[in-house]
């Protein structure tokens, strides 16, 4: 059985470089390089593996500003079949609820086109476990609910798809262990860094990708209600952003030529001054 997949790719700012302007109290976005959300590349690799063994198609899907086509162009280099960017002013300011509304409308359209071409629709939707800017991990489950897909999050190892029974088995990471889950297709999975890192892109794919177009869809291309898009369709509002409260830099206990045992003694003296004493007695 051929498996058709959609991989959700988000372009994110390199978060290690995002800062708050101490004067204006607003986010400094300028000059911050954009990267593909790292977890989405694990998701892409997982989708590529499924295609390796079952055939079928992979469509990369992203919602973002026009520049996000750079991310999709990069993932086209891995030899995927199609890349779609959802870009429209109406999509801007979306929280995860509006994002899943918009992405799910696009996935429905992609599925419709696959069916019209004689295929079986979309069997698997792959997301990263979370984005590094929003850090929510909410989009994968949101898509599962909206599209009536089985929901398997935090996948640390995706086992093979059983074509006859239309099921997939996956190990899911929890805090207290891992669980082996069996889910019926169609399924939405979110992939963690415990899965395989993305393979090297093959040269012919890279060359083909250089010429392959990224399709750009606007709201008019989707069956959507305008009120449910972007900021308008988002129940949450950011009321304030601020720099994390800075902890004060403390004392330096080391000094030129101060021997380690003196430093250690100084530390535990200081801790004792704060009421943290060593030993079982309160003396």
């Amino acid at each position: 059985m051929r498996i058709n997949s959609v991989v959700c790719i988000k372009q994110v700012p390199d978060t290690t470089q995002v800062r708050i302007d101490p004067d204006s109290g607003s986010l400094i976005r300028q000059g911050i390089p954009s990267v593909i959300n790292p977890y989405d590349l694990y998701a892409l690799e997982a989708a590529l593996k499924v295609r390796d063994s079952h055939g079928g198609t992979i469509t990369a899907l992203s919602m973002g500003p026009p520049q996000a086509d750079e991310a999709l162009r990069k993932v086209l280099g891995y030899g995927i079949d199609r890349a779609v960017l959802l870009s429209d002013r109406a999509f801007a300011g979306a929280d995860t609820l509006a994002t899943t509304y918009t992405l799910s409308a696009a996935i429905r359209k992609i599925a419709g086109e696959l069916i019209a071409a004689g295929g079986a629709g979309v069997d698997m939707v792959f997301c990263g476990k979370q984005s590094i800017d929003g850090d929510t991990g909410q989009v994968g489950p949101g898509l599962a609910r909206r599209l009536d897909l089985s929901q398997v999050t935090y996948v640390c190892s995706l086992l093979e798809v059983a074509a006859e029974t239309r099921t997939v088995r996956a190990w899911r990471q929890r805090e207290d262990g891992r669980e082996l889950l069996e889910a019926r297709l169609p399924v939405a999975v979110t992939i963690t860094e415990a899965c395989n890192p993305i393979r090297y892109a093959a040269l012919p794919d890279l060359l083909r990708a250089a010429k392959a177009p990224v399709e750009v869809w606007s709201a008019a291309d989707l069956e959507v209600e305008p009120d449910r898009l972007g900021l308008k369709g988002s129940p949450t509002r950011v009321s304030k952003v601020f720099a994390p409260p800075a902890r004060e830099r403390g004392e330096t206990l080391s000094g030129p030529d101060r021997p380690p045992n003196e430093i250690a003694a100084a530390l535990f003296d200081k801790l004792a001054e704060r009421g943290l004493t060593i030993g079982g007695s309160r003396g």
Partner: protein, 361 residues
């Protein structure tokens, strides 16, 4: 139907009658929020163990316990839990629902918030009430911890948030209090999207209890090799603490992921945190900067960890750590006590002692 303002709910994360400590941390916080709103705090227990857990919920601040019982609710999978929680929320219209930001809590919260078409704020580190607008102010780190954002859900109910374990301190259980118990059998449809759990393999490393540890001695790439973690284990053992790690050390394969502190690891708030050979990337700081006292040992004077350290030691950890261990041993000898507790806080209980009542059942 309840009258008055909607309740403040906590979804108790439990399996087989064992609740996750974060649930009680949230119950205490929910009770405080509910007081400000003049609303009732309630515990929602999905599964078959509700009766065992309801008294723990009452002693942690719940006035109501919803026991939602259905065989499909254990073991946890998203779909039946989502159906049950949505049905309950539609029936009793809470104004706030809190869940732990765990792999299960996040999984369920996202699904339920989508069905309820409402806002969800993930991974909050602070909650308070805007008393004029009666809104929940949800503060969380974003952009990998470089930015804090306060989020509100102004026009939708319920307002849903997940909160990381360890952010709030579980209340000291008050024995002998009781509350209203509501038992419900939800209508869970058997759906094609049902997921089956075939197997569960618990972590081998179950001795790791970073959450409740009063002292954490954490190591990073500066340790150079896994075997050098022995240095940290020794100091941790002397202080009655646990060993933690940066992602750098975990990725190098030197130590188990369960000991990772930070954005993608655990959030910890020990009384004393040693960062040994850890540079102090924001993602690491995100998980430990609430510690009472931070000691940093690093041979690079420019390492960002020194910005948050109360006590900075610029030096070679391979020289400093043996000296630390020696110093502690000496002091214990002098105090005439080799037994734990190794580190005591004078004048008032240590915070973590109050916090370890979490698993009371």
């Amino acid at each position: 139907m309840p009258v008055g303002p909607g309740e403040v709910w906590v979804v108790i994360e439990q399996e087989g009658g064992r609740a996750e400590p974060v649930s009680w941390e949230l119950m205490g916080e929910a009770a405080a929020l509910a007081r400000k709103l003049g609303a009732r705090p309630a515990a929602v227990i999905l599964g078959s163990a509700g009766r065992q857990l309801s008294s723990a919920a009452f002693s942690s601040g719940a006035e109501v316990a919803y026991l939602v019982e259905h065989p499909d609710l254990e073991p946890y999978t998203a779909d039946p839990h989502c159906q049950a929680l949505v049905e309950l929320a539609e029936k009793f219209t809470p104004q706030i629902i809190l869940l732990g930001a765990t792999t299960r809590g996040r999984d369920l919260a996202s699904a339920a918030a989508t069905e309820l078409e409402t806002g969800l704020t993930a991974d909050c580190t602070r909650l308070d009430i805007d008393t004029t607008k009666k809104l929940l102010r949800q503060t969380r780190p974003a952009f990998g911890g470089n930015v804090m954002a306060t989020i509100i859900t102004p026009h939708h109910l319920p307002q849903i948030a997940t909160v990381r374990p360890g952010v709030f301190t579980a209340p000291q259980p008050v024995e002998g209090v009781s509350g209203e118990t509501v038992v419900l059998k939800p209508h869970i449809k058997a759906t094609a999207t049902a997921v089956k759990q075939l197997q569960f393999v618990p972590n081998p490393d179950t001795g790791v209890t970073l959450k409740g540890a009063k002292v954490i001695v954490a190591g990073g790439r500066g340790l150079k090799a896994g075997r050098n973690f022995a240095l940290l284990e020794e100091l941790a053992a002397e202080l009655g603490g646990e060993v933690g790690a940066s992602r750098g050390a975990v990725d190098a394969g030197w130590i188990s992921q369960h000991r990772q502190v930070g954005q993608t690891g655990q959030t910890v708030r020990p009384v004393l945190y040693f960062a040994v050979g850890i540079s102090g990337a924001v993602q690491h700081l995100a998980g430990m900067q609430e510690s009472d006292v931070i000691v940093a040992i690093n041979n690079d004077p420019e390492a960002p960890i020194f910005e948050v350290a109360d006590y900075g030691i610029v030096g070679d950890l391979f020289e400093v750590m043996p000296a630390m261990i020696g110093e502690v041993r000496q002091r214990k000898l002098a105090a005439g006590a080799a037994a734990s507790p190794a580190l005591l806080k004078q004048g008032g209980a240590m915070r973590m002692e109050a916090g370890t009542g979490g698993e009371s059942e």
